[in-house]
């Protein structure tokens, strides 16, 4: 299992962001759905080793991130796109991706080719030498995804990756997710149920810090039968599960 979480908790003062999440995940694309404040970003940040859990057990890529050596090894094999991607305005796209390839401890000889492959994978070849400050929001998001995949990660964590992407870019991005999901664990936090329907093998729905549904997109759709709130079948499933969890 690439991800093993047992009763994971995270508090910020008195606010409980994540309240006892348990999860096991192997290769595949996992969609993380939920309303604002459900705890999706906190959960992803803990899996990205950016945020330590308050309590519970966290095991990533068969390693304990609480110790220096294993943590470093996890981070070498990790790809992470935060919700708020900061960037260095004076960097070019290639500089940006290269910077994080180096920080991921990739062998320097492999870096130029890996950078070129990641940039081409995102269809940004014509923007490789463009400064980040000149790019649109969607382009910046793609540069962020390029840095996340530059090391061919075994665990890929993406927080709102399709925000700002146009429909054509989203379609090709879903293909990229499916491709990675065949050999890696990809966990995608999103508000867009179409992304989940098109790319995810499993869906987790979070509410108030807990996972209130875990199953396939078809199972989530089935939960929505007879439920009237929502335009699409997956949206009806989403709102039906949330209504049941809150009742």
């Amino acid at each position: 299992m690439n991800v093993e979480l047992t009763e994971l908790h995270r508090k910020f003062g008195h606010v409980r962001a994540v309240a006892g999440v348990s999860l096991q995940a192997g290769p595949g694309v996992f969609g993380l759905l939920g309303p604002n404040g459900a705890g999706k970003t906190s959960l992803l940040r803990m899996m990205a080793t950016v945020l330590p859990p308050t309590s519970g057990k966290l095991y990533l890529l068969d390693r304990d991130p609480g110790s220096y050596g294993p943590r470093r090894e996890i981070r070498r094999r990790l790809g992470y796109l935060p919700q708020n991607l900061g960037y260095y305005p004076g960097f070019t796209v290639a500089d940006f991706v290269e910077y994080f390839a180096l920080l991921k401890d990739m062998p320097p000889r492999q870096v130029p080719r890996a950078v070129a492959a990641a940039i081409e994978h995102l269809g940004m070849g014509d923007k490789a030498r463009a400064k980040l400050r000149t790019l649109s929001g969607g382009m910046l998001r793609r540069a962020g995804i390029a840095q996340a995949i530059v090391n061919e990660p075994e665990l890929l964590l993406l927080d709102e990756p399709t925000a700002g992407l146009d429909p054509e870019q989203r379609v090709s991005f879903r293909a990229l997710l499916r491709d990675f999901g065949q050999r890696s664990t990809v966990i995608v936090s999103t508000h867009l149920v179409e992304d989940v329907a098109a790319a995810c093998t499993e869906v987790m729905l979070m509410d108030a810090g807990r996972i209130v549904f875990h199953g396939t997109p078809a199972e989530l759709i089935a939960r929505g039968e007879g439920h009237s709130v929502g335009d699409a079948p997956l949206e009806r499933g989403y709102s039906a599960v949330l209504a049941a969890a809150r009742s």
Partner: protein, 245 residues
């Protein structure tokens, strides 16, 4: 080439197998793109990579906000001004200014709000503690070198020229610890500047002159103790959280 050889050549072209038809143009392009888009590190970055044995750490060092050209020029201007005033008045202004200037540089070396991609950097194999320490040392070293040059050029006595290095260490450590714990460079600068101001005023109260904060031997132990305590605070604040399993 005979007619038979020509026929054979054509058959070779048509036959499947290795040859010009099997060239993977995507692969070729990636090789070309890798060379075209490749960034050439400067001599300083190459030297840092060799010294630190980590190209990633060297690259992180080169992006230090308080080591960028604009910041270094500003530091130099402040120290040059201090040198000019010292030459005119005889008061060792370089020694009085240098600790505060260095503390500001240290507070602005690393952290949220300074590093645009700070959260992302914290998920990287090159640890953020190492990035912080390497950047802090580099900023300290550069400020010390600039300050010593300005102090020596201002004609200060040797005791004054080197005397501010110990208080500078303490003030920088205070700024670094505060900036790290509060995750705010501005609060770090404020703490460092306030600490230095208190030291100067204490020197004035004890010895009747501000320069006592630099020259008095009685201050050395408190400075070193403060630096050690602040160093410990930084180490604790950047430790790897345990107990996750």
């Amino acid at each position: 080439m005979t007619g038979d050889e020509l026929t054979g050549w054509h058959e070779d072209l048509a036959a499947p197998g290795p040859g010009p038809h099997d060239v993977d143009l995507d692969r070729v392009w990636l090789g070309v793109a890798a060379q075209v888009w490749r960034r050439s590190p400067g001599p300083v970055e190459r030297a840092a990579a060799r010294l630190l044995r980590s190209p990633g750490l060297a690259r992180a060092l080169m992006t230090t906000p308080s080591l960028l050209l604009g910041w270094v020029i500003a530091t130099t201007i402040v120290l040059l001004a201090g040198m000019g005033i010292a030459l005119g008045t005889g008061t060792p202004w370089v020694g009085l200014l240098a600790p505060a200037v260095a503390a500001a540089g240290i507070a602005y070396a690393y952290g949220p709000g300074i590093d645009p991609a700070w959260e992302l950097s914290r998920s990287m194999a090159v640890s953020d503690r190492m990035v912080l320490l390497v950047r802090a040392l580099a900023v300290f070293g550069l400020n010390a070198a600039l300050g010593l040059a300005a102090s020596a050029a201002s004609g200060a006595a040797a005791a004054v020229t080197f005397g501010w290095l110990v208080p500078m260490t303490a003030v920088c450590a205070l700024a670094l610890a505060t900036a790290t714990v509060t995750q705010s460079p501005n609060i770090g600068v404020a703490a460092g500047s306030t600490g230095w101001l208190i030291a100067l005023l204490t020197g004035k109260a004890v010895d009747g002159q501000f320069t006592a904060a630099i020259t008095s031997a009685a201050f050395v132990i408190p400075y070193l103790a403060l630096a050690a305590c602040c160093g410990a605070v930084v180490m604790v604040a950047t430790r790897i959280p345990r107990g996750t399993r």
